[in-house]
Amino acid sequence: MQWKDTGWIQMVFLLGMIFMILLNIKRAKGTKELYIRRIAGLNAIDEAIGRSTEMGKPVLMVPGIGDLNAISIQALNIFAYVTRTAARFANPIRICIANPAVYTVAQEIISDVYQKEGLGDRYDPDSVRFVSDRQFAFAAGVSGIIHREQTAATFFLGEFFAESLIFAETANSIGAIQVASSTETTQTPFFIAACDYVLIGDEFYAASAYLSREPVLVGSLVGQDWCKIAVIGLIIGGFITNSIEQPKMLKDEESGKMRYLKREERLIYRIFHPEVDQEKEAK
């Protein structure tokens, strides 16, 4: 929103976060020593592909049903890694897509992966499929593919909504290994209930750094951690100032009686809602 409406602190904080991320990307260039904690779901990728190879069944990937945005691109980045591994073992893949824009980008990325590995002849253009842009038609189509092709490993990573459980339970019913993650917090419980491995919250974004150890990505991850520390600092700051103001009393202008501060009168609230002051001035 416009900084004049919502206050300068949001703008400064956002710019501060951007600065921290870019600074760490710059710092990380040239080093590969940074530590990233173990993420079980990502360690399972090789295991899942290995099992598919043994069974001679395809690996299924779905990058959610969202638009072409940071989330679907991140999902495709992870799928590029999965595809690379699958291509080396000559394992068939299926990528089912619900958005035409994501479909075009996915085709480029996947064909690029095969070309880079020198395995262009193994690339099947129909392995990347646009199924439908209608949520439940897509759910039905993907469930059909899971059943018909008896996929041995499934990766559901991206923006999932109500279809998450349909996919997860269908794949579970045929005994496929499942690695899943939804950026929608409301869908994560469904994946946890039905899948083998689940990436929770921003683990999804950490995946490409974890898999590739690319300095830019690892640096960005460190920058994100700095940002989280800043957010925690802000929360603690808010907690302290609110606690100090809690017992404070002032004289009510209308009734003349002593009263506690209203929520709108507290420091943190006023910083984030400067329009309250503007309204007073206007009066």
């Binding site: 416009q2 409406d5 949520q135 909504f161 109500a162 929608e184 869908q187």
Partner: protein, 332 residues
């Protein structure tokens, strides 16, 4: 789940290994029976509206007559179990209060505008049957159709409402005409001229709107609103949308089938002084004597029995695990 293992299974093992098909069959029977019982017995079950629904109801009851409400209806029939009940209750209130509305979809869901129009036709048919005035397209409400890119549309509405909406609708007896000539839209110039902006959704379009729309605070009657954005969402989206309600970024939230019943309950009983958690002294009359309990209440018994079945099955599974563990000395 079901195995071909010939060794006889213990009671504990049986308890935790019901086949999928059995579980599904039980659910079908339980839910169907509940819906039928509700339909034929006309049950009205008790309900206690939460703060989110109370605030939502308070706002739509406080908005001045003749205002224009924007309804972004991004739902299709797939979530009709929850969304249709909410949407119908909303429409009934707006029509009873003579509030004009513009309905549209901004989530790239091409089916949604038609679904909304069909629901309006259904409610209108009921109104005519009850001897009430039919709500007339063009003069009382307009359909703005589909906006494929919700993000860009919200930003465009914020920047310039007039240029963001470049649509036509059909006046009575005339060919399709620019919607800005309709009595519903003609007074609107900027986004703050809208009475309320209500989102009916089954996905995360609430995020998109909260991030992009900004309304000046307003007071309708005894109800001060920090924003004009309110949401009706499915049960699954409830917890996430509740965040925005808790931080006053939306004026109210109606969640799932339970929320639909809450609104119907409020339509029947209103809000009595001391009942509202947000506005302590607020008093709102309901629509006593009119048809208030409808689609929400029709499925409320089924919600009870389905939840009950879920709880029973989880308990069964756990008891089965406990029995098996006891039998095998903790090694199950």
């Amino acid at each position: 789940m079901a195995t071909n293992d010939p060794t006889p299974r213990s009671f504990g093992q049986r308890l935790q290994s019901l086949s999928r098909q059995t579980v599904y069959l039980i659910l079908i029977i339980v839910v169907s029976a509940s819906v039928l019982i509700s339909k034929f017995m006309g049950l009205t079950l008790p309900n206690k509206p939460g703060a989110g629904s109370q605030d939502f109801f308070a706002a739509i009851m406080a908005i001045p007559e003749g205002s224009t409400v924007f309804i972004q209806s991004d739902v299709t029939n797939s979530t009709r179990g929850e969304s249709a009940g909410q949407f119908e209750a909303l429409l009934r209130i707006l029509m009873r209060r003579n509030i004009k509305f513009a309905v549209f979809c901004a989530s790239g869901e091409p089916q949604a505008p038609q679904v909304a129009i069909d629901v309006i036709a259904r409610i209108n048919a009921q109104r005519i049957a009850n001897g009430e005035r039919a709500y007339e397209r063009w003069n009382d409400w307009v359909s703005l159709g589909l906006f494929p890119d919700g993000r860009a549309t919200a930003k465009a509405m914020m920047a310039n409402l007039r240029t963001a909406i470049d649509k036509k609708d059909t006046p009575p007896g005339k060919p399709p005409t620019d919607v800005w000539q309709s009595p519903v839209m003609e007074k609107l110039k900027v986004i703050d001229d809208i009475g309320l902006y209500i989102l009916v959704t089954a996905s995360k379009t609430s995020d998109i709107l909260v991030e992009r729309l900004k309304f000046a605070p307003v007071t309708y009657g005894d109800v001060p609103l920090r924003t004009k954005l309110g949401c009706m969402v499915t049960g699954v989206m409830g917890p996430e949308t509740n965040n925005y309600y808790r931080s006053s970024q939306i004026f109210g939230v109606v969640i799932g089938l339970n929320g639909a019943v809450e609104i119907e309950h409020l339509m029947e009983n209103g809000i009595k002084p001391g009942q509202s958690e947000t506005y302590r002294s607020l008093s709102i009359e309901g629509f006593k004597g009119m048809q208030n309990y409808a689609r929400g209440m029709a499925y409320y018994l089924a919600l009870h029995t389905a939840m009950g079945l879920l709880i029973v099955l989880v308990i069964m599974g756990n008891v089965g695990m406990w029995l098996t563990r006891r039998q095998t000395g903790g090694g199950a």
